[in-house]
Amino acid sequence: MTLYEKIMALYPSLIDIDFLTTIRLQNDSDGRGDYIASWEHPTLARPTEEQLNAN
């Protein structure tokens, strides 16, 4: 399950444009994988590692 899929499982109301504006998931192609580069969503809280790994 990718980071994107974990977040969508937690917040299914998110849409494509959210990941272009207020939420930025990033992968630097350096082998370290995906991570949350920034989270500025106005209503949804940044998920914790525990929440992400619960899915």
């Binding site: 990718t2 980071l3 994107y4 899929e5 969508m8 494509d16 990941f19 272009l20 930025r24 998931l25 990033q26 992968n27 630097d28 192609s29 350096d30 995906d34 580069a37």
Partner: protein
């Protein structure tokens, strides 16, 4: 020496030998000229498959040219201070719902290119910007975002110095 035409039509400032030379050389131009500043062009010969909804650094496996050896590990780190025209482009098929490319400076998003909702077999996002690099620590990357994971059809990245600092 400047050539001046006064109100009565008299021309002053000409050299004793006649009109100034019309030959344009680097030495006769002002100093902030790109001249032989760094330039590179690279493309993706191995298709990359970014994850859905994730800004992913584009990796470029083949270089067309790299005049100053400033492009390595898909990152452009120019060693001459100045202003650079930077271009990035990535393309996906219709199976990916959207695509956008972005130019990163020093690891952070700097300017985004076009956002394309895919509708055809080939859908390309393009970013074309002018960016200042200090010639020592500044570096430039290209990232891509796709709405639904899928292999890129193509990706290109290039930059050229257009004005020295």
């Amino acid at each position: 020496m400047s050539m001046v035409i006064n109100g009565s039509g008299t021309i002053t400032g000409l050299s004793a030998g006649g009109l100034p030379s019309a030959t344009v050389t680097q030495a006769t131009l002002a100093t902030p000229i790109a001249g032989t500043g760094p330039a590179f062009s690279a493309y993706q010969s191995i298709p990359q498959t970014p994850a859905t909804g994730t800004w992913t650094k584009l990796t470029f496996t083949t270089k067309d040219f790299d005049t100053n050896s400033n492009f390595a590990s898909s990152t452009f780190t120019p060693t001459v201070a100045g202003y650079y025209q930077v271009n990035a482009q990535a393309q996906v098929g219709a199976t990916s719902s959207s695509i956008s490319v972005s130019i990163y400076k020093n690891g952070a998003a700097y300017k985004s290119g076009t956002y394309i909702v895919t509708s055809a077999s080939y859908n390309a996002s393009i970013a074309s910007i002018l960016v200042y690099c200090n010639g020592t620590t500044d570096y430039i990357d290209a990232y891509v975002y796709i709405g639904t994971s899928g292999a890129l059809n193509a990706a290109q990245f290039s930059a050229s110095m257009v004005r020295s600092a």
